[in-house]
């Protein structure tokens, strides 16, 4: 059958037109027709502006005729466009009345808020033409891609080991050895490395289109260029960052990113996107017109009563997330990334903002968060909140979840860091963190799977810097060291920064191993900061958002220099993946509810079954009973972890195992390589089955099992 509605009804300057479909918004292709649709509640008129690729002046500006408007939507079909060679934008007519929230300006050419392919910043760091009338230019996307049998992996949340990564920093360093440095294709080249490390999920710092030249400036310290490297500043919510694609210069970022996801999936690695729905790159009233401000300012932004911009993001403006139309846009964006890019999950930057109403007040049941929790297409997508914002709302443990949302557990980071540097009074809190923070997540029945545990993330020190610096050193950012977090809970082990002192360097390596050990033996979803596995340093910079250079780029030479750290990471990740008993979904009972002879989980101290309770204590041990974590009917091993964050050695009395089982030592951070960690499954027998000596600031992991494999080998 042929459709009867595929014939032009109008003509304008030689182009054949027809009334469009209001939905879907944006540009979509059907045969020889391209449908353009944009909504604006307050605009009075709209014009479609068409350019040939990269040309400064448009070749035509087509008004949306009266009959092309339905409700508040302007839609138009243009026939026979050679759409690979077309860039499009809109002009909006309407009131300019900032006090009322309106900032329409017909002189501006505006980006489609639903643009799926954006050009204009195609090659990283290539200076744009600042005078250009239209900077970030929408194109019509080729949305067909042969995924073959790929789909999101749906890895159980509790089995994830997340690797937080910046696409550019990951492989931009000269020693990365990849052909396509700093790109999606570069990530693909490093897949064998990720597999060797053992992570099964990469969480990408923002890959939506942003402008690396936003707030571009030379460093007042040494003149080197400062970029918006991290990209927490969206230009578009539907388009990938062109300059992260090696084929971005040919506008093929969509295919390159899809191929990256497909290749990662084929290797068992999920992809989570860090998404920034709290603000846009348009800044405050002094910022540029990119899109939203000129399309429908009052709809897209949270405005003060006098029409100014609320700044809960700390970045000039706040997206009006609980306006029904903006809410729909966010839902549609996320659905698009899942449907068209097979994305496995999202981490929401400053997610507390998503729960504020249009006047900025926190809501108890925010409709946006509820929509996302119940959305059918996102039904198996991981949703992770950074449960705070720059306006002082801190919701770790109380983020509205409907049983679906997990959180970055900032309290895990803080407590574990304090424990690592032997703070007093922190042991009680550390114990909560190790068992999956039931104090935060048990009451709403959210379970262990609500807790994303981490010691380091992109915000703050890298792990090596955490044990090498007492204070941040952000002078290179050009803000007199005022930017970045001041409360780092870090300890330099005796000298600020790099040193030749072998004892200090040994201690730093041990502390790094202690940190990853605590992360990997804790219940919850562990997240590793990219580079920590090779001891990456940012020279004490704890806010490297603008350092597009060796400060923020991974130095792959570290892999050899810190080979003991990389080896340790690999082994402990493997250990976690082999032991179901470390990866519970729901909180532990701390009792022997199945009458197996031992509780599912038990705390110990230097004396078995007698955990320390004193304020100053820095020793603790726990035992996991593998009988409670069967896989296909086979019980897991017993696991015993002794933690000594005291600066003196301590003996730990071991709990006795069931008849026929013996303790084997998997890891001992107090030992030098290769005695620091064993091959999982081949752990040597512990000499004394009654007591172990745990060195100063050291952790030991024992495995209890029946068959003595070490005798066999």
């Amino acid at each position: 059958m042929h459709r009867v509605d595929v014939f032009p009804t109008h003509e304008y300057q030689g182009l054949k037109l027809r009334r469009g479909w209001p939905h879907p918004f944006g540009a979509s292709v059907l045969g020889n027709m391209v449908n353009f649709s944009v909504y604006s509640r307050y605009a009075t008129d709209c014009t479609l502006v068409l350019f040939h690729n990269r040309e400064e002046q448009p070749f035509v500006e087509i008004p949306f005729f009266k009959e092309f408007r339905l409700g508040n939507v302007f839609s138009m079909i243009v026939f026979d466009l050679d759409y690979e060679n077309i860039e499009y934008g809109f002009r909006m007519d309407g009131p300019f009345d900032p006090a009322e929230g309106h900032r329409f300006d017909r002189s501006k050419i505006l980006l489609d808020p639903y643009a799926k392919l954006i050009v204009g910043r195609d090659v990283w760091g290539q200076k744009p033409n600042w005078d250009s009338l239209y900077q970030y230019r929408a194109r019509v996307v080729f949305d067909d891609f042969d995924w073959e049998n790929d789909l999101p992996l749906e890895t159980p949340v509790n089995d994830l080991i997340v690797y937080e990564m910046h696409v550019r920093n990951f492989t931009c360093g000269a020693a990365s050895g990849v052909k396509h440095q700093g790109t999606f294709a570069g990530v693909v080249e490093k897949i064998p490395y990720l597999k060797e490390l053992g992570v099964n999920c990469v969480e990408l710092m923002p890959i939506h289109e942003f402008d690396e030249f936003e707030n571009f400036r030379p460093s007042p310290v040494d003149g080197h260029p400062l970029y918006n490297l991290w990209g927490y500043s969206n230009v578009g919510f539907f388009a990938p960052k062109a300059a992260y694609a090696s084929a971005g210069r040919f506008s093929m970022q969509v295919d390159e990113l899809k191929n990256m996801v497909k290749r990662l999936h084929a290797n068992g690695i999920e992809v989570i996107l860090d998404v920034v729905f709290n603000h846009t790159a348009e800044g405050n009233e002094k910022g540029p017109y990119i899109s939203y401000r000129g399309i429908d300012n009052k709809t897209y932004y949270m405005l003060t009563p006098d029409g100014g911009y609320f700044n809960f993001s700390g970045c000039g403006n706040t997206l009006n997330c609980n306006n029904p139309n903006v809410r729909d846009m966010i839902v549609e964006s996320l659905r698009y990334w899942v449907t068209d890019y097979h994305i496995d999950g999202f981490r929401f930057d400053l997610a507390a903002i998503l729960g504020r109403d249009q006047n900025g007040n926190p809501m108890s049941n925010p409709p946006l968060l509820e929509s996302l929790a119940h959305d059918p297409i996102l039904g198996k997508t991981k949703l992770i909140a950074e449960a705070w914002d720059a306006g002082g709302l801190y919701q770790v443990g109380s983020f509205p979840s409907w049983g679906r949302w997990a959180e970055w557990n900032g309290k895990f980071r803080d407590s574990i860091r304090r424990f690592l540097k032997s703070d007093e009074g922190v042991l009680g809190d550390v114990k909560e963190r190790i068992v999956g923070s039931p104090d935060l997540y048990a009451s709403q029945k959210r379970g262990i799977k609500a807790s994303v545990n981490f010691v380091t993330a992109h915000d703050g020190f890298t792990l090596m810097d955490l044990v090498s610096y007492n204070k941040k050193h952000n002078e290179a950012n050009g803000e007199d060291n005022r930017d970045g977090e001041n409360h780092n809970n870090s300890w330099n082990c005796g000298c600020e920064g790099p040193t030749d002192d072998a004892d200090i360097n040994r201690l730093r390596h041990r502390q790094v191993k202690n940190a990853i050990t605590l992360l990997m033996v804790s219940q919850g979803i562990p997240m590793v900061l990219s580079g920590d596995e090779m001891g990456n340093s940012q020279q004490g910079n704890n806010n490297a958002y603008c350092q597009d250079n060796e400060i923020a780029w991974l130095d792959w030479n570290d892999l050899e220099k810190n080979s003991d750290i990389f080896h340790y990471f690999k082994q402990i990740i493997k250990f976690r993946r082999q032991h179901q008993v470390l990866r519970y979904e729901d909180h532990l009972a701390h009792s022997d509810y199945r009458h197996l002879g031992y509780p599912d989980f038990s705390w110990h101290g230097v004396k078995a079954w007698q955990p320390e309770t004193g304020y100053n204590n820095l020793t603790a041990a726990f035992m996991l009973n593998g009988q409670y974590a069967e896989t296909d009917g086979v019980a897991d091993d017993f696991i015993y972890v002794a933690m000594n964050m005291h600066w003196e050695m301590h003996g730990f009395e071991l709990p006795h195992l069931p008849e026929g089982m013996t303790w084997h030592v998997f890891a001992n951070t107090g030992m030098e390589v290769p005695a620091d960690i064993a091959e999982p499954g081949e752990e040597p027998l512990v000499d004394s089955q009654d007591e172990i000596l745990v060195g100063p600031r050291s952790i030991m992991i024992l495995v209890g099992r029946g068959e003595d494999i070490s005798i066999l080998s």
Partner: protein, 102 residues
């Protein structure tokens, strides 16, 4: 076996993709296999990539084969980073390709 060689021009993009597609489709109608000689081709755009993959899919759906020959470094790179290379058997020269087909 009925094989035909089709020579692709210097560029395969929005300007000529439609014509190239028609011509390859016509060959696939009458021949069992087609060899695309890309030796002169320096650039393949998004639409060009789709011409290649669509033709390959038409060929496979009919039990026929489509081969690529003489990919330039740049075209090869574009195909690798977008993953389109995974769908094709590709050869350096026509002789090599013919050798393989035999």
């Amino acid at each position: 076996m009925n094989i035909e060689v089709y020579k692709v021009g210097e560029e395969l993009d929005a300007i000529n993709y439609s014509q190239v597609q028609d011509e390859i489709s016509a060959i696939l109608e009458k021949s069992s296999s087609v060899v695309l000689d890309m030796t002169d081709c320096r650039y393949v755009s998004s639409s060009g990539l789709r011409v290649l993959l669509y033709s390959e899919k038409v060929a496979s759906s009919k039990g026929q084969k489509l081969y690529l020959v003489g990919l330039s470094a740049q075209v090869k790179d574009i195909m690798e980073v977008t993953g389109f290379n995974n769908f094709f058997d590709s050869f350096k020269t026509i002789e090599e390709c013919m050798q393989h087909i035999k």
